[in-house]
Structure formats: C-alpha cells, structure tokens
C-alpha cells in the first residue's frame, strides 16, 4: 500500500516535495525502506546521516513500518 512520507530540509530538496507517495510492503523494515529510497534518490546516500521517524519517534533499522504509520525522513538536524 502507498504511504505518504514526510520530508524536511535537504531530504525535501533532494526529492523535490514535502511529501512523497511511496509503496511500503507489509512487514518491511526501516532499513528496507531506507535502501529503496536511497536507490531511487542516490543523493540521499551522500548525507551524513538519514534517520526515519515512525509516528514521531526515532525508529531503529530493524523496526517494522506499515502503511498506517506516520513516516518521516530525518536528515542531519541543525537546530539551535
């Protein structure tokens, strides 16, 4: 099923939108999601880091994601 992935900062500029419609296979992991995004948008792989937030919480690589979750890409943060 398709999900809308929220995008911010340089990830938003690389992908060219603040939201990306993306197909997420059932029972896929954060790592699999990152791999598929990086293979479609190779510039994402050049970032110092790229985390995934699931329902507003930092997710680990092995965490499962589903299309009902709120998913966001978190490029290197620089607040303050």
């Amino acid at each position: 099923m398709n999900s809308k992935i929220k995008l911010f900062g340089i990830a938003r500029e690389i992908i060219g939108s603040s939201e990306l419609e993306w197909e997420i296979a059932e029972a896929s992991t954060v790592q699999q999601l990152l791999d598929s995004l990086k293979s479609n948008y190779p510039q994402l792989a050049n970032l110092k880091s790229l985390a995934v937030a699931v329902n507003s919480v930092y997710a680990k690589e092995g965490d499962k994601v589903s299309s009902s979750d709120e998913i966001a890409l978190i490029p290197p943060v620089s607040g303050g």
């Binding site: 970032l47 937030a53 978190i74 620089s78 607040g79 303050g80």
Partner: protein, 137 residues
C-alpha cells in the same frame, strides 16, 4: 506550554517567566542567535524548518531526561522557525534549579542534546549560494 515552535520573534522574558517559582534559586538562560558569518562567508539569512509535533515530543523527552540527572525545577524551550535575519533569536532555553551549579550544567546539556536530536533544520543563505547546515560529512 513549556515547549514551542513558533514563527514569530521570540521574547526571552516570556520563557524565563515560565520557569520562575519559589523553588528556584537560579535560572540559567541560553539564547541562540543568528551569526553574520560562517568560516569566511557572509551569511545573509537563515531558513529554519521543523517537524513540529516530533520536535515538541523530543523536547519533552529531553526535559524528562534532564530532570532525572539534575534537581531541575522547570525547563522551557521556545524555538523559532521560518526566515531569520542576522541577530535574530533562534532559540531560548531557560532552566530553573535550587542552586546555580546545576542550572549551568543542565542548561548546557539541554542545548547540546537539542542540537543532536530535535528535528529542526537550518539552511544558511550566502551571497553566492546556500547550504543545509551539517547535512554532509
């Protein structure tokens, strides 16, 4: 509300007032402002954006962690987003504690961790280009 992301100019006194109280013997305040240069380049402005809901949640969790380390009375953090000019205030953090030593320590720890974890981003705009801060190795 002790934690806020706002798109209007910040007033430090408003944040200080949030942490005041009879239990406070010290209030330490950190104010982050927009610097006019980076290395050798002149900065025209900064553009901030935030994942608001997650940023608030991360700030709340950070405050809970800090309260577990120091005897903190209250913590408040207001962070601005949008376009900021040189000299503008980007963040105001206020920590109140019974004594000054832990106020200094808790304040420094909080701003250091905020910069590492809270989902807020800034782009530096120069005369001849622009750059997302810390994005690349």
């Amino acid at each position: 509300m002790m934690f806020k992301i706002v798109d209007q100019p910040l007033n430090p006194q408003e944040v200080i007032d949030l942490v005041a109280g009879e239990e406070a013997g010290a209030i330490d305040v950190f104010i982050g402002t927009v610097r006019g240069s980076t290395q050798t380049k002149k900065v025209l402005r900064l553009e901030y954006e935030a994942y608001d809901a997650m940023a608030i949640r991360e700030m709340e969790m950070l405050a809970e962690k800090v309260k577990g380390i120091w005897p903190v009375h209250k913590i408040a953090i207001y962070h601005r987003k949008g376009v900021l000019q040189v000299g503008d205030i980007a963040v105001v953090l206020a920590v109140s504690t019974p004594h000054r030593k832990e106020a200094f320590e808790a304040c420094q720890y909080t701003i250091d961790r905020l910069k590492e974890r809270v989902p807020i981003w800034k782009k530096e705009v120069f005369e001849d280009g622009e750059e997302w801060v810390a994005a690349h190795p």
